[in-house]
Amino acid sequence: MNEVFVAGDNIVSPFGADTAENFSGLKLGLTGVDRHERPAMSNSPFYASLFAPAQFSSSIYTKFEQLLLTSIEDALRISGIRPAGAKTVLIVCSTKGNAHLLDEDANTPPENISLPASAARLARAFRFDAPPVVVSNACISGLLGMITGMRLIRAGLFENAVVTGADVISRFILSGFGSFQALSPGHCKPFDKDRDGINLGEGAATVVLSSRTEYNSGLRLRGGSVSNDANHISGPSRTGIELCQTIERSLLDAGAAKRDIGFISTHGTATAYNDEMEAKAITRAGLNHVPVNSLKGYYGHTLGAAGLIESIVTLQSMREGLILPSRGFEENGVTTPLNVATGLLSTPLTTCLKTASGFGGCNAAVVLGK
């Protein structure tokens, strides 16, 4: 089977417009999450990681599309891969895409919101020849996009996959999570005993995958797996058995052993149920001694982009041999405690795990390695 190399990557977030800028901010312990008063989005103040209102406000492309354009452009440039030809596919990941347009006009026509139409515009802008693939699978969209790209490359259907994802925070999304009582009234605290919900976040990220050895930058997407809890559409499994199974299957797929895993980048949304389930799954997998963090305290929950952003931060952690502290964590608040990183940890990393779960009972895990 073809190996899958990481040829380039990018993160666009309130931290900055490339991976390096993002990682510098994270190392300084900064956060994108802030208190916002934006009457157009919420009747009351809220905590989230948002771009300034004037950013990404071109009239040609939607905000969602501009985020992706910015991210894809930088990742492609870094990779040196040209999108033309039948061997390179664009994979676009999002939960809500252009749904932010409904905030301004509740009658926005379907063709203006359409994710496939946005993907086609992006593909044209960068001159991709292959038709784009669009993944919309709740909060595992980013990881599922990476796994899809990896599998298409392994099967020899493509040589390169440009996997990109973004979500824009809108009144639509804020009100929805608010209606679930899922929003934290302050900064979110993943895995902490006082955790009280999520912060939402905006961002885009792109990872360029390739089977061609000339694009081997020293990091690989080694394996991945997806599962469903078959339990509840808006709450995670009570046991974590399914996420545990996904972790084990992703390791098997990667040909990696549990003892190889030096770090886990968790989903860690800071809701009571998610963090509890994830801790159970990681413990059940026998990985509770492995250092973990959640990046939600820095980025908020970036939904369809989360899996990509957090995988790319993990790649950067591997490059720099540095595990970031889990912002917002002070005291353990899950029944099966994890080894949550509380300070910058300098350590060589060769194999890491990234997990995610989402509405609809979906779970995903990928193995990243040198």
């Binding site: 809500k96 379907p110 496939p116 899809t148 259907l157 639509f172 929805g176 469903n228 078959a230 509405f359």
Partner: protein
């Protein structure tokens, strides 16, 4: 020795007020003599009449949005009472679905609730993969899943991805296809894909999927 190959071991198509399984018409609303709009023109009314016609018993059905109802009922009839899920492990059955309009039908409806009181029970359906969750819960399926969006039914992508799951040993069976709802428009075409030595079911190919999608009464073999 005959090798096990991927076959379409069942298909179910729902659209324009009719339900087809394996090339046979199972149910249709009576042709309306004249306008006003027939029940067939409205997915909610038609799916409810199909639910009653097939005497399905699943109270959660009433909580679902039209998209999940369509996906759920199509899967119910696809698998029928005859499909024995116990021959597969729950984690070895994959669900690969797609549509053009994501959850937009419910997005508009949820957006209307925001001004008043945002409804969590509507918001949860503003993701297309919730339908995969509903189907997984109903049948205890815990395997691989994916939701793709395409401008139109894309059997090349669906067959390509599903084949890869079956051939790379990621799944042993798969429920694959299209479930789309927007306003009064609705269409579902789901396929059960299994590896079998049985030769009296159609081979699994994008061409065969397209043919069944377009003409569900075409002879099964």
């Amino acid at each position: 020795m005959i090798k096990s190959m991927e076959h379409i071991t069942a298909s179910c198509v729902i659209g324009e007020g009719a339900v087809y399984r394996n090339g046979k018409l199972l149910f249709a609303t009576p042709r309306p003599p004249a306008p006003p709009a027939p029940a067939a023109a409205n997915p909610t009314a038609f799916l409810l009449s199909a639910y009653r016609h097939f005497d399905l018993q699943y109270p959660k059905f009433y909580k679902m949005d039209p998209l999940s109802r369509l996906g759920w009922i199509t899967t119910e009839l696809l698998l029928g009472p005859g499909w024995d899920t116990s021959i597969y492990r729950p984690e070895d059955i994959a669900i690969v679905l797609s549509n053009a309009h994501s959850s937009l039908d419910t997005d508009y409806r949820y957006n209307e609730t925001i001004r008043d009181i945002p409804s969590p029970s509507v918001f949860v359906y503003t993701l297309p993969n919730i339908m995969i969750g509903e189907i997984s819960i109903r049948h205890g399926i815990k395997g691989e899943s994916a939701f793709f969006l395409s401008p139109s039914f894309d059997p090349l992508l669906l067959a390509g991805y599903t084949r890869l799951l079956l051939r790379q040993g990621i799944a042993n069976a798969a429920i694959v296809g299209w479930v789309d709802v927007l306003g009064d428009e609705y269409k579902a075409a789901l396929f059960l894909i299994e590896k079998t030595k049985d030769t009296d079911t159609p081979d699994f190919s994008p061409e065969r999927m397209q043919a069944i999608f377009q003409n569900p009464t075409k002879p099964w073999m």
